[in-house]
């Protein structure tokens, strides 16, 4: 299965939210879409789930336009938007049964899938609780469960880990890693740790365009020799930040340890450090912001 975005653009009034975006996603991997707020991630995902029409370009699944495929496309699609609500007076079970019917599952299939997805997201014990009694994290997990109901071939998740605690986030990562084995999973986030371990490829985007697309390892490797660590005093740090990008700080009793992005040694006491994804984020997005 190949999902292709062919030169897709989207314009709102005078602003281009997505511009000449081309991308090919294949089954068997989790793709991470990383970018700052306003980068065009949500717009891109909405076009991919066919609720927003591209101003130009086309989106194809195995060579067929998703717009023309209509409900055939929607029946193999799972989507969790960034922001969504629930029928709060429903129980989790009733809500998922209702969503199953909207996804075209018959009652027998629905009963099985609802149990499975509730178990997957760890809500099986709260199945008969009203949604209004759920915490933010539980609601988020229920949102993930509804996206998985129809066992989708294409799973698109927009900021799915917002509001999840660390334990829930780890559980989520494992679920996504498992699901990504035999389907297309596209995950949009600005939380780097969501992508670090489970991603086959990362797509870095800003201002509606692809900046880089590669495996996390390769992207990290591209910064080899550009990351430094140095122990500084407050005035030294102030001086450093005016000339270099600082991707991390840790305050210690005898000074401040800073991670600095620079092609050359920024200060005499700086030592080279192996790059991490946070450095990548800082490198691309801060650079973009300052241009």
């Amino acid at each position: 299965m190949i999902l292709t975005m062919d030169n897709v653009s989207k314009k709102y009034r005078k602003k281009w939210a997505v511009q000449s975006f081309s991308l090919e996603l294949t089954s068997g991997g989790v793709y991470g879409l990383l970018g700052p707020n306003g980068a065009g991630k949500t717009t891109l995902l909405r076009m991919l789930v066919d609720i927003s029409k591209p101003t130009s370009g086309q989106i194809l699944l195995d060579g067929q336009s998703i717009e023309q495929m209509g409900d055939r496309y929607r029946s193999i699609l799972g989507y969790m938007p960034q922001r969504f609500g629930f029928y709060n007076r429903f129980t989790a079970h009733k809500f998922l049964m209702y969503m199953s019917s909207l996804k075209g599952l018959n009652v027998k299939q629905a009963v099985v899938r609802v149990q499975e997805t509730l178990r997957m997201v760890g809500l099986d014990k709260q199945a008969e609780h009203k949604i209004r009694t759920f915490s933010g994290g539980m609601k988020q997990r229920l949102g993930i469960a509804q996206a998985l109901l129809n066992d989708p071939h294409i799973l698109i998740l927009d900021e799915p880990t917002t509001g999840l605690d660390p334990k829930e986030r780890i559980r989520f990562r494992n679920i996504i890693g498992e699901l990504g084995r035999n389907r297309i999973v596209l995950l949009s986030t600005h939380i780097i740790s969501d992508l670090e371990f489970s991603c086959k490829e990362m797509i870095l985007m800003n201002e509606g365009q692809v900046l880089v697309r590669n495996t996390p390892t390769e992207i990290i490797k591209s910064l080899d020799g550009n990351v430094w660590k140095a122990k500084l005093t407050e005035p030294q740090l102030a001086e450093l930040t005016s000339h270099f990008k600082v991707s991390g700080l840790s305050y210690q009793y005898d000074g401040i340890v800073a991670r600095v992005l620079s092609k050359e040694q920024p200060v005499p006491q700086a030592v080279p450090e192996p790059p991490r994804l946070e450095d990548v984020y800082m490198h691309y997005f801060d650079e973009e912001a300052t241009v």
Partner: protein, 281 residues
């Protein structure tokens, strides 16, 4: 001349073929296949028939049956998720109608006026609940989409309200059916169509709860003003059937145009995109 040459050639070929045939005929006898009996032919046809693709008409019939079945499932599913309080209110209104018809000294046909479109107006809360509770974006990506859901719910509440009016007329007439006023029934349906069209117009522009509140306040105000004026009541009772039909048609047209706009609004992808991306990158 050419034709004669061709004919000679054909004769030569057939002569050669006959010679070859005579040479191998004894071998061919071993492979002789008897013509099957009628029974065997029929049995073969029956056996293969199972594997034949369905004829177009049968296929269409199945599709039709399937879509009708799916439609019923959808309607039933939607009715089952309506709030119980919605049905309870409709029941209470029927009891009030019965009381007005049997106990009250007021003109029951005119006083029932006030709560005629209430089932439809309250039903709008159910129609737009996906939109109002933030579920629409998910619903739009389902096999049954948000606009299909809304139109289905709308039809349910409209048909429900029409049945409600019939029942109300029955209970207002004391449950006997003898005192059914057909002109009042016509007036009631006309009023329903106009109320339904305007309330739907409003609900498409503001949140369901706000639309219902605004409509009910305006509605109660207008009906109270009308009913407190005996001359107006008299005028209502004297409305000609032809005029009533004309107003009813206007109401139906307004309602249809609103349903069409509703389906278009939530189907139109430009509109869908626009409505979602106001605050997103």
């Amino acid at each position: 001349m050419k034709r004669i040459e061709n004919s000679d050639k054909r004769n030569l070929v057939s002569e050669l073929e006959m010679e070859e045939y005579n040479e191998i005929v004894s071998y061919l006898d071993e492979y002789a296949v008897n013509f099957p009996s009628e029974l065997e032919i029929e049995r073969t046809i029956k056996a293969l028939n199972v594997h034949m693709p369905a004829q177009k008409r049968t296929h269409l019939k199945h599709l039709k049956e399937k879509s009708i079945r799916e439609l019923f499932q959808l309607v039933w599913g939607e009715v089952s998720i309506f709030r119980k309080s919605y049905f309870l209110i409709c029941l209470i209104l029927l009891f009030i109608g019965f009381w007005l018809g049997t106990q009250s000294k007021l003109n029951p046909y005119m006083n029932s006026f006030i709560f005629l479109p209430i089932p439809f107006v309250l039903g709008l809360l159910e129609v737009f609940k996906g939109r109002d509770q933030g579920l629409m974006e998910i619903e739009l990506t389902c096999k049954v989409t948000a606009q299909q859901l809304m139109v289905t719910r709308l039809i349910i509440v409209l048909v429900g309200n029409m049945v409600f009016i019939l029942l109300l007329m029955l209970v207002t007439s004391g449950g006997t059916g003898k005192l059914i006023s057909w002109s009042a029934l016509g007036l009631w349906y006309t009023q329903l169509m106009i109320a339904a069209g305007t309330s739907l117009w409003l609900a498409m522009r503001v949140r369901g709860g706000v639309a219902v509140s605004i409509f009910l306040i305006v509605w109660f105000g207008l009906v109270w003003l009308a009913l407190s004026n005996p001359r107006l009541v008299f005028l209502f009772q004297q409305i000609r059937p032809s005029f009533l039909i004309m107003i009813a048609i206007c109401g139906v047209l307004l309602l249809i145009s609103q349903i069409y706009q509703m389906a278009r609004k939530y189907t139109s992808q430009t509109e869908r995109g626009y409505s979602f991306d106001i605050d997103h990158g």
